[in-house]
């Protein structure tokens, strides 16, 4: 069954994508109004399920890379996605048959729709993270051995930089630093895949899932006690498999600093009306580890999402402040992140923590 996305779906899709962004991914507001406008003009997009992708497909991932807060001041042109597709095709000498998002968490859930509707290139229902994560080597594409390049990054001048390396760690270093020199935010086309590669490397169904999640949050607007049951049912039916209520309480302390380009912080949530020890969250752009007392209750690559207790709106890590009443949910990561080679790059040790990953359902 194919899912059609219209301009009226974008607000819900963004809401779902912020929930899956686990505190990262930035504020998608500018992308939301841009994509709404473009879809209204060029028409809806039908998502293609991975199983319907023909064997001879040539699939390319597109999205934006850089600092989301920069693009709240320096807006995108709106056509970078089209440019990046043209540049990529011209350089590689091959037509892209299908696009895929590299990150469902945050603005990159909707950015590929711009190229999909304008250039009428089918968009795959799926992505390369199933959440938000900070670095290219953490994408399922890289984990499953997809070469990150040929890749193209286009900036606000319409100018481009071309990448050709087979090492994703090197690509990550290049793109991060070059993005800074290109105005802080670039649009990229990267990780070209065959259909066979995409079938193992793309996490299926995440875009339509984010939309369904957003719709559910809109329909069940209210406090998190009220939303928990429909949320649990929704995640149970999905590749995420499980959603657990981890904690409800109040933010009592928050501190952050920058280490190596990352916003590293800690937030402490204290329970109200019972003697549970406080929950501590470690934050590096996203929420990475949740601990109650000495016990880790959820860790990356499983998802940790914080919602406002009264409205169930997901809260971005940059917006956490003292006094908020919050509910913390832990969500299982899809099977793509549970393999040995995935855990090498996304387990807690990959973020500098000194313990091994244990799946959320066993905690």
């Amino acid at each position: 069954m194919s899912i059609r996305i219209t301009h009226e779906d974008i607000a819900d899709l963004c809401k779902g994508s912020v929930f899956l962004a686990t505190g990262g991914g930035g504020d998608p507001y500018v992308s939301q109004i841009l994509v709404e406008k473009i879809l209204e003009k060029h028409g809806p997009v039908d998502l293609v399920s991975l199983s319907d992708v023909p064997d001879d497909a040539f699939i390319v991932a597109i999205g934006e890379v850089g600092a989301p807060s920069v693009s709240l001041e320096q807006l995108p042109i709106g056509t970078e996605c089209l440019d990046v597709v043209d540049r990529f095709e011209a350089w590689v000498g091959k037509k892209i048959t299908h696009l895929v998002s590299f990150e469902v968490g945050g603005a990159n859930s909707v950015i590929p729709l711009i190229a999909a509707t304008t250039k009428k290139i089918p968009l795959i229902d799926g992505d390369g993270m199933a959440r938000a994560l900070p670095e290219a080597q953490m994408m399922t594409f890289a984990i499953e051995g997809v070469r990150p390049t040929p890749a193209v990054a286009v900036d606000y001048t319409g100018g481009a930089v071309y990448f050709d390396t087979e090492d994703t760690l090197i690509y990550e270093r290049q793109i991060r630093n070059i993005a800074m020199a290109m105005g802080g935010m670039v649009f990229t086309a990267e990780s070209p895949m065959t259909a066979a590669e995409a079938r193992c490397a793309v996490v299926p169904g995440t875009i339509s899932f984010a939309l369904e999640l957003g719709r559910m949050l809109t329909a069940n607007f209210g406090n998190s006690v009220h939303v928990e049951k429909p949320l649990r049912e929704l995640f149970d039916r999905s590749d995420y498999g499980i959603l657990k209520h981890l904690y409800t309480g109040k933010i009592v302390d928050i501190n952050r600093k920058v280490v190596g380009g990352f916003d590293v912080g800690e937030a402490i949530v204290e329970a109200l009306g019972n003697d549970m020890p406080p929950l501590t969250l470690a934050i590096k752009n996203e929420f990475l580890v949740a601990t109650v007392g000495d016990k880790v209750v959820a860790s990356v690559p499983d998802l940790i999402t914080i919602v406002d207790h009264e409205t169930s709106s997901p809260i971005n890590a940059e917006r956490i402040h003292y006094g908020q009443r919050v509910t913390v949910f832990g969500i299982g990561c899809p099977p793509h992140y549970r393999t040995e080679r995935a855990l090498k790059v996304v387990a807690p040790r990959a973020f500098g923590f000194d313990f091994d990953y244990r799946p959320i359902e066993s905690l």
Partner: protein, 518 residues
């Protein structure tokens, strides 16, 4: 001696302060022309105190006229926007997400030209004089007289906005211009909206400011007067005529500042309990703590410096249901005096519970004499826990804080509060807004994105401070008293090179001249 005036939609309040002592206070009806209400209020406080008008050193006025104009879509003049950003933002034009009714009021006079700067100050595209000139000529041809100008990263580097303004003025000196960097913060859409709203209010601002001036003149008050702004600081009358939008949240701010003056507390939580809601704000070093999220004014997203106010659905008219277990958010509001039980109505409200508990004498207590004791107990506990929770969410550390209760519904708090270290109920709290206005200082702030690797932190702060000091002196501050009130730094996520957003705020005491010196 100072006079503070608060011109609200319904009431105009005035106070005379001698240093920090309230000499006289009054509440009169706001007049349609603003001026008569101000004159009435002045007459009342001057005659009540017997103070000679020549003894007044300064008059401070807070007003909601401009907020009301935006919310009610009235007296907004047609306004053009020139955005210096192309090629960036091409498909996200100005006013894209505005409600239609207010966008229509301003007209959709949208001009996008090449230019702007990146986060690190590199030009996005060169400015083109012919583009600027063509836009301006078209604006003039349409008969539009007001122009807002916004440039990418102008809060860090305003030179392009200034260049465009100078070019406009040279070509068409009759146009009035608002530059976005002088009114808003990072976040181009919100800052652009702020500049547009401000420019469209300029004709009304002339009218309001001159009616204040002529009210004072008619009563022979010759001292300078000031208008209070969102962040609890003052602007001169001339400055207010240029930046009316800076008054948008001055009401709650003045209420907080007034509470601070009345209690002599600089750090406290202020709860203003009305008929339908309680507004909770936080005083930090004598100023309201500011919100850091986008705030809509009349449906338009802005990022004005607004106090962080949490409204909770509890007031003197809140409905009491479920045997006292549910209170609010529904309220009988201003109909309390008809619908409340103690006033002869048949709706159980928080005020009725209070009267039944014997802690206040309002209306006819016989009418609640047989209210069940468990209901009274449950409802009283619930009211306190609602307020307690509200305070707890707002206070900035886990320790109990001093709490200042103001507003007509303050009597609802009849017991202690867990979150409160102490509870203050100041006298004159009904005119806290006017007192807050009279007590305001002058302030200025600026924000930019910097890398401390290339410019040391001290140097950044010094540079921003010296620019702001000049602004403050222009706004009427005594140079001797100017100090840094606040430095806020936020690291920018996903950036490779340690960029930090820094916001610096300076305040200073008003330089009071002797009357007649003006």
């Amino acid at each position: 001696m100072r006079i503070g005036i608060d011109v609200g939609g319904t009431h105009t309040d005035a106070v005379i302060l001698d240093d920090q002592i309230v000499m006289a206070s009054t509440k009169v009806l706001t007049s349609k022309n603003v001026k008569d209400g101000v004159i009435n209020a002045l007459d009342e406080v001057l005659s009540e105190s017997g103070i000679d008008c020549h003894a007044i050193d300064a008059v401070m006025i807070g007003t909601t006229q401009f907020t009301n104009a935006v919310v009610q879509r009235r007296e907004l003049a047609p306004t053009a926007i020139i955005r210096i950003a192309l090629p960036s933002g091409e498909m996200v034009p100005p006013m894209l997400d505005w409600p239609d009714d207010i966008a229509d009021e301003l007209g959709r006079h949208i001009y996008m030209i090449h230019g702007g700067k990146t986060y690190d100050g590199f030009p996005i595209a060169p400015l083109q004089d012919d583009e600027i000139d063509a836009a301006v000529d078209d604006i003039v041809a349409k008969g539009v007289r007001l122009v807002a100008v916004v440039g990418v990263f102008s809060p860090s580097d305003p030179t392009q906005e200034q260049y465009v303004a100078a070019r406009i003025s040279a070509r068409h000196p009759e146009l009035r211009i608002t530059l976005s960097h002088s009114i808003g913060r990072m976040g181009i859409l919100e800052r652009e909206n702020a500049a547009l709203l401000n420019a469209s209010l300029l004709p009304l601002a002339d009218k309001v400011v001159s009616s204040f001036a002529s009210a004072l003149q008619e009563r022979d008050i010759k001292c300078p007067f000031y208008i209070s702004q969102n962040d609890g600081t003052l602007m001169s009358a001339d400055f207010a005529a240029e930046f009316p939008a800076l008054t948008f949240a001055s009401g709650p701010t003045n209420s907080l500042r007034g509470a601070s003056l009345l209690t002599q507390l600089d750090n406290a939580v202020v709860v203003d309990i009305g008929g339908t809601t309680s507004d909770i704000g936080v005083l930090q070093d004598g100023f309201p703590r500011q919100s850091n999220i986008a705030i809509e004014v009349g449906g338009v997203r802005t990022n004005f410096r607004m106090p962080d106010i949490q409204s909770i659905g509890l007031g003197g008219g809140s409905l009491v249901k479920d045997g006292g277990a549910t209170i609010g958010p529904q309220s009988v509001g201003y109909r309390l005096v008809e619908d409340g039980l103690v006033f002869g109505g048949d709706t159980l409200t928080t005020t009725d519970v209070l009267v039944a508990s014997g802690r206040a004498l309002i209306g006819d207590k016989e009418r609640v004499a047989d209210l069940d004791a468990t209901v009274i107990k449950t409802a009283t506990e619930k009211m306190h826990s609602i307020i307690d929770n509200g305070i707890d969410q707002m206070k900035s550390s886990r320790d109990p804080v001093p709490v200042i209760l103001v507003g007509g519904g303050a009597v609802l708090v009849s017991e202690s509060l867990k979150s409160a270290a102490e509870i203050h109920r100041p006298e004159h709290s009904g005119v806290a807004n006017a007192i807050g206005a009279a007590n305001a200082q002058v302030g200025a702030e600026s924000e930019r994105i910097v890398s401390y690797r290339s410019v040391p932190r001290d140097k950044v702060i010094e540079e921003i401070s010296s620019l702001l000091t000049a602004d403050l002196i222009r706004a009427g501050a005594d140079p001797e008293t100017v100090r840094i009130a606040d430095i806020e730094e936020t690291s920018i996520s996903y950036m490779a090179n340690d960029s930090t957003k820094i916001r610096v705020k300076l305040v200073g005491d008003l330089l009071l001249r002797k009357s007649g010196e003006r």
